[in-house]
C-alpha cells in the first residue's frame, strides 16, 4: 500500500538515510526548470535569539516549498520553533537570515496575501462577531456594504450566521475557533497559516472542525500551512507533513499522505500514517522532555 511517502529534508540528504518502508519517494520540487513557482517558499530561514550574551538557535536553515492549494502540516515537539516559523511567514517577525517568498517574491511585513490564525486566536473582545470578521476588510478600506456582504458569506461558511451580533466571550471554544477562521478567510488571503488552532478543544469539537476545515479548504482552494503537535491531526488533514526536530528547529523529514478525501480521523489508513510519522517524531519528543526535566 502506497499511502505515505517520505523524504529527508533538503540539504540533509547526506546525513540522513531515507528509509523506504513501502511508500513511494516524493519528487524533488527543484527537478525541472519549468516547474511552477511555489506559493510559499522558505529559503534557508535561520532565527537566532540573543539574550544577555548567550544566543539560542531557534530555527536552523529551514527550506520548504508549498504549492498553491496544498495543505501542509508541520509537526514537532513543543518548543521546536514551529509557531515562530508561522510568525516569520506571516511577516510578524523577521528571520536572522534567509528569505520568505510568496509567489517567488520576497514577502516583507504582514500582507493581505497571508493570514495567521493564532493559537490563542486573538479575537477582539470589544467587537461583535460580525465586526471581528469584517476587521481585515475595514483595514483594507473596503466599503461598508461590501464588507457586510463578505462577512455574511464567511460567517455562513463557518455556520455562525445567527451569532453575528454576539460578542466573542458569549461563544463556545469551537465557535470562537470558527470566528477566527472566518476572520482570516474574509480578507481572502491566498495562504492561511494556522498555529495549533484546535489544541484547546475537546475531541468531538475538534473532529467536527477537521471536517469543516477540509470542506472549506476544498471550497476556497486556499493554501494552508497548519502547525500542530498532534500527529493524528496532521495525518488527517495534510497533503504533506513536515516533521521538525527539537532545538534547533530543523525539518527532519517530510511525508506525503496520499489518502483520498474527505478523510476521517478514525480511518485505519490515517492511523497507519500517523504511526509512521510518530515513530519518526518520538525521538524529538523525548529530547524535548529531557530538556524540560533538566530545567525543572
Amino acid at each position: 500500500m502506497t499511502s505515505i511517502s517520505q523524504r529527508p529534508a533538503e540539504g540533509q540528504h547526506r546525513r540522513m538515510a531515507t528509509r523506504h518502508v513501502g511508500w513511494e519517494a516524493a519528487r524533488t520540487p527543484q527537478a525541472g526548470a519549468l516547474m511552477e513557482t511555489s506559493k510559499v517558499e522558505l529559503q534557508d530561514i535561520t532565527l537566532q535569539y540573543k539574550t544577555n550574551g548567550s544566543s539560542l538557535l531557534a530555527l536552523d536553515r529551514i527550506n520548504l516549498q508549498v504549492k498553491a492549494g496544498e495543505f501542509l502540516c508541520i509537526v514537532g515537539p513543543s518548543g521546536c520553533g514551529k509557531s515562530t516559523l508561522l510568525h516569520l511567514i506571516a511577516g510578524l517577525q523577521q528571520p536572522t537570515s534567509g528569505r520568505v517568498l510568496i509567489d517567488g517574491k520576497p514577502a516583507g511585513g504582514p500582507g493581505s496575501d497571508r493570514s495567521l490564525i493564532f493559537q490563542e486566536l486573538g479575537l477582539f473582545p470589544w467587537l461583535s462577531v460580525a465586526d471581528n470578521v469584517e476587521f481585515g476588510l475595514k483595514m483594507k478600506g473596503i466599503a461598508r456594504a461590501e464588507r457586510k456582504e463578505k462577512a455574511d458569506y464567511y460567517l455562513r461558511l463557518v455556520q455562525l450566521s445567527q451569532f453575528a451580533k454576539n460578542y466573542t466571550h458569549e461563544l463556545s471554544g469551537g465557535m470562537r475557533q470558527r470566528v477566527a477562521l472566518a476572520r482570516a478567510l474574509a480578507t481572502e488571503p491566498d495562504v492561511l497559516l494556522m498555529d495549533e488552532p484546535f489544541a484547546a478543544l475537546d475531541a468531538q469539537t475538534r473532529d467536527l472542525l477537521h471536517d469543516e476545515l477540509e470542506r472549506i479548504w476544498e471550497q476556497t482552494g486556499r493554501t494552508i500551512i497548519f502547525v500542530t503537535h498532534n500527529v493524528r491531526e496532521a495525518a488527517r488533514l495534510g497533503d504533506r507533513v513536515a516533521v521538525f526536530t527539537f532545538r534547533p528547529g530543523r525539518i527532519k523529514r517530510e511525508f506525503t499522505v496520499d489518502q483520498p478525501r474527505p478523510r476521517q480521523i478514525e480511518d485505519p489508513a490515517i492511523s497507519r500514517c500517523a504511526k509512521i510519522i510518530l515513530d519518526d517524531l518520538r525521538e524529538e519528543i523525548n529530547k524535548s522532555l529531557e530538556q524540560e526535566y533538566r530545567v525543572s
Binding site: L92, E120, L121, L123, F124, P125, W126, F135, M139
Partner: protein
C-alpha cells in the same frame, strides 16, 4: 434593599440633627444655616441663572481640559510603554511629579498665561495628565500582546492599529486611570476657579464666602458633589459595566 433603607435612615437623622442644631441658634444663621435656607439658596441660584452659568462654564473648562489630558496622556503613555529609555527618564519624573498637588501649578500658569482660560486649562491638564499617562503606560504593558499581533496580521498599521486595536484593547486596563484622571481634573478645576478665575463653580463658592452667605457656600458644595457623583458614579460606572459585560469580564450574568 437593606442598604438603601439604611442610607435613608442615616440621611434623615443627619438632616434632623442639622435642623435641631440650627434651631438652637448657637451660631447666627449666616454661619450655620438651616437646610431650608440652603434649599432656598439653591433655588435662588438656579432661578437667577447664576448656577446654570457657573455649571456651564465649569463643565466647558473641564471637558476641554480633560479631553486634552486624555489625548496627551494616552500618547505619552503609549510612547513610554514602547521605549525603555523614556520609561526610565520621563517616567520617573512623572511619578515624582504626581506628589505635587495640582494647584501648585497655578502660579506658573498665571505667570505664563495671565488670568486667562489658558491658565485654568493648564492647571486641569497638569492635575490629571499624570495619572492618565501612567495608567496608559501600565495598561499598554498589561494588555495581551496577541491583540497587537492579530491587528497587524489583519493589515492594521500605524494610526489605524492604534485607533482600532491598541486603544480599545487597553481600555479595560486604563479605565481606572481615566477615572482617576477625571477626579483629579475636577478637583484641580474647582481649586483653580476658587483662587482666581472668574465665573465657574469655584468662584461661586468664594462669592458665598465674600458675601458671608453660608447657605450659598453649602448649596454650591452640594452642586459640586452632585456633579462629581453624576460623572463618576453614573457615567464612568455605566461605561465600565458595559465594557466589562462586552468583554465578558463580569462574573454575574
Amino acid at each position: 434593599m437593606k442598604s438603601a433603607s439604611r442610607q435613608i435612615t442615616f440621611y434623615a437623622i443627619a438632616i434632623g440633627l442639622w435642623v435641631l442644631v440650627a434651631r438652637l441658634h448657637i451660631w447666627p444663621p449666616y454661619l450655620f444655616p438651616t437646610p431650608k435656607g440652603v434649599l432656598e439658596s439653591l433655588w435662588a441660584g438656579f432661578a437667577d441663572h447664576s448656577f446654570w452659568i457657573a455649571i456651564a462654564v465649569s463643565m466647558r473648562r473641564i471637558l476641554v481640559g480633560y479631553a486634552l489630558s486624555v489625548v496627551i496622556g494616552v500618547l505619552l503613555g503609549l510612547l513610554m510603554a514602547t521605549s525603555k529609555f523614556l520609561e526610565q527618564t520621563l517616567g520617573s519624573l512623572l511619578v515624582s511629579l504626581q506628589s505635587l498637588p495640582s494647584i501648585c501649578w497655578l502660579p506658573m500658569a498665571v505667570l505664563w498665561f495671565g488670568l486667562s482660560e489658558k491658565a485654568i486649562l493648564f492647571v486641569i491638564v497638569m492635575g490629571s495628565v499624570l495619572s492618565v499617562t501612567i495608567s496608559m503606560e501600565t495598561g499598554r504593558k498589561q494588555m495581551p500582546k496577541i491583540y497587537g499581533m492579530a491587528g497587524r496580521n489583519l493589515g492594521a498599521r500605524g494610526l489605524k492599529l492604534f485607533l482600532f486595536v491598541l486603544f480599545p484593547a487597553s481600555l479595560p486596563y486604563v479605565l481606572t486611570g481615566l477615572k482617576q484622571g477625571w477626579a483629579f481634573a475636577w478637583r484641580s478645576l474647582i481649586a483653580g476657579e476658587m483662587i482666581f478665575v472668574s465665573l465657574g463653580l469655584g468662584q461661586l463658592l468664594m462669592m458665598g464666602r465674600d458675601l458671608n452667605d453660608m447657605s450659598q457656600v453649602i448649596a454650591v458644595m452640594i452642586l459640586i458633589v452632585a456633579i462629581g457623583y453624576i460623572v463618576d458614579g453614573l457615567i464612568f460606572e455605566t461605561f465600565e459595566k458595559r465594557l466589562q459585560q462586552r468583554w465578558g469580564l463580569t462574573t454575574t450574568a
